[in-house]
């Protein structure tokens, strides 16, 4: 069952990757997967991870990457804000999602069974949890905006502003996360302010599904973003 799900996920990832990356090959030095579209007009590229200068040739459908140079002293931005900022949303967002699920469970349970809130652990802290979710979301979004900006600076300095499909993917995902994250934040304010969390009426069902749908989508984008970013920095 789990392997089937993994296969399905893998299939979708491969379809998406094929569309964005085209054919890929591996850097023969650091084994980073690179897109054949990352080369310049001379069929050359610099591996974003290890800095080797690769001349990419194709013969009979086989890629033959030839290493003829290496960038040893790669420019590193002095204040490395990008890696610092990037871990804030990655750390806070999952807790915000967990908190929201906890509040949903309490809401459904109390509305369905009419049980008092006091039966739940941390019951007295529910308003605090609500505020924390809001705060975590807000910090995550502000930090992700900062991550985006510092990431662009990193790209310009460390990677020389060269076109890499993996960086394009990061930019797209960051933009997407900002949009979906802001949507989640807005819905959080509306849903919790109006007490619409739960499944007791049609409007609350729609609001809850919409809210958690956006929340989960943002989480998925963020996790993918973290994975892609980590792959770019640490390789396999």
């Amino acid at each position: 069952m789990l392997s089937d799900i993994m296969k399905l996920v893998d299939k979708f990832v491969n379809i998406f990757k094929k569309r964005l990356y085209g054919r890929t090959f591996f850097c023969p030095v650091c084994h980073l997967e690179l897109s054949c579209h990352d080369t310049d007009e001379n069929e050359c590229m610099v591996c974003p991870l290890c800095g080797v200068v690769i001349e990419l040739h194709e013969t009979y459908g086989h890629f033959v990457p030839i290493v003829n140079d290496v960038e040893i002293n790669r420019v590193q931005p002095k204040a490395r804000l990008h890696p610092l900022a990037t871990h804030l949303p990655l750390g806070l967002f999952p807790f915000a999602l967990l908190g929201a699920f906890y509040l949903l469970i309490i809401s459904v349970y109390t509305k369905t069974l009419g049980t008092g809130i006091s039966a739940f652990p941390f019951a007295s802290s529910i308003p605090v949890i609500d505020n924390l979710i809001f705060l975590f979301l807000l910090i995550a979004i502000i930090a992700s905006a900062l991550t985006f900006l510092t990431g662009v600076i990193d790209w310009k300095k460390r990677y020389g502003g060269r076109s890499y499909r993996v960086i394009t993917l990061k930019i797209i995902l960051s933009g997407l996360f900002l949009a979906v994250g802001l949507g989640t934040l807005a819905l959080h304010l509306v849903v919790f302010e109006a007490g619409m969390i739960g499944f007791d009426s049609l409007i609350s069902v729609l609001a809850t599904i919409g809210y958690f749908g956006l929340f989960c989508a943002a989480m998925f984008i963020l996790a993918t973003l973290g994975h892609v970013g980590g792959y770019l920095v640490f390789g396999k």
Partner: protein, 378 residues
């Protein structure tokens, strides 16, 4: 004597080359690493008409000449010989049916293979009987109108995906060929063998435990099996040689591309004779192996005995492929030893050509056997 391809053959080569560049080579690494069977590539090969080339027109096939098959196969194996084997392996089991099967057998087992993607496998090799086919231990006992087969077959290419098998078994010590549907009770398929190379090709062990086969699935008469199995090799060995030529061609192309691009001591690698002479030798040996292959294939197509030429082509092409793969790795230096470059795969894939469908030593024995019957070599 003509040394050029016809317009149709040139067109076939171009078509196979395009298929190789679009489907085979781009998937070579994926299937080599995963070890999965390349069904999607085979489906495309089927759609484009590269599978089952030997099936007669009467049964829906294209009845391609062996030479044409060799031309296409050389291209495909330049992309990946493992995928090439997966595509071509049907031919090995189909030929006994084409050669010795009756109309009913051909209609039942060959015709469906032209209508949809299907596979078949050739079950001759056993754990104790490889090159020496006569040592096979698998038995077929006649009971009423059926035969009951018992035994173990090993290194069966395409064994997991096959719909039917050509099985060589002994009936009262007489080697006899049978067609055995893969869904027959008593057939136990083993796990995929973890081989050195050609990971895309599916190789398994098959155990036959009281497998009941009706008499009408017997090929030819009792005792015809050895002749059928050997005649099949005259047909398939030029194809095997073509696969080896594909590896040589890939090694040459990769080595050449690398030598032209890589710089050492401020000069291109190809400017050193130590490197460029390797490429010159590779090209010459490839041409020699190719012409031997084409001759063996053409003789078969003309209906002449090609046993010696097929053995020569298979042996020489395999030796050249192995040597070229080693030299290609040497040209690439350290990069020839890493699995992120295509050279090391060639080295792993090439070895099997010196072993399967008769080891190189067996090919030499065939050549010598023919020479012993010759008074003078002209």
């Amino acid at each position: 004597m003509k040394f050029s391809l016809t317009a149709e053959q040139q067109e076939l080569v171009e078509k196979a080359r395009t298929f190789t560049k679009e489907w085979v080579a781009p998937n070579a690494v994926k299937y080599d690493r995963s070890g999965e069977f390349p069904r999607d590539v085979c489906q495309e090969a089927f759609n484009q008409g590269f599978m089952n080339p030997a099936i007669p027109k009467k049964y829906g096939g294209v009845e391609e000449s062996v030479l044409d098959t060799c031309l296409a196969l050389e291209e495909i194996c330049t992309g990946c010989s493992g995928i090439g084997t997966a595509i071509d392996a049907n031919g090995l089991s189909q030929y006994p049916v084409i050669f010795a099967g009756n109309d009913y057998q051909k209609k039942k087992f060959l015709e469906p293979m032209t209508q949809e993607l299907m596979f078949s496998a050739y079950c001759v090799t056993e754990p104790e009987a490889g090159s020496d086919v006569s040592r096979i231990k698998t038995t077929a006992k006649k009971i009423g109108n059926d035969y009951v087969i018992n035994g173990v077959k090993w290194w069966i290419t395409g064994g997991s995906v096959a719909s039917w098998y050509f099985v060589l078994a002994k009936v009262d010590d007489k080697a006899t060929g049978f067609i055995v549907p893969a869904d027959t009770a008593g057939i136990i398929r083993g796990v995929k063998e973890q081989n050195l190379g050609q990971h895309a090709s599916n190789t398994i062990r098959i155990t036959f435990e009281d497998v009941k086969v009706p008499q009408e699935y017997r090929l030819g008469e009792e005792g015809d099996g050895f002749k059928i199995a050997m005649k099949t090799f005259d047909h398939t060995r030029p194809g095997i040689a073509s696969g080896a030529n594909g590896i040589t061609k890939a090694a040459l192309n990769i080595g050449l591309t690398y030598a032209k691009g890589r710089r050492t001591f401020d000069k291109k690698l190809i400017s050193y004779q130590g490197i460029s002479f390797k490429l010159a030798e590779m090209m010459t040996k490839l041409d020699a192996a190719r012409y031997m292959t084409y001759l063996a294939a053409d003789l078969f197509d003309q209906g002449e005995d090609n046993s010696r030429q097929a053995a020569q082509a298979k042996w020489y092409a395999a030796e050249v492929a192995m040597w070229s793969a080693v030299e290609c790795c040497q040209i690439l230096g350290g990069y020839g030893y890493t699995n992120e470059m295509p050279a090391e795969k060639l080295l792993r894939d090439a070895k099997i050509y010196q072993i399967y469908e008769g080891a190189s030593e067996i090919q030499k024995m065939i050549i010598v056997a023919k020479l012993m019957r010759t008074r003078e070599v002209h």
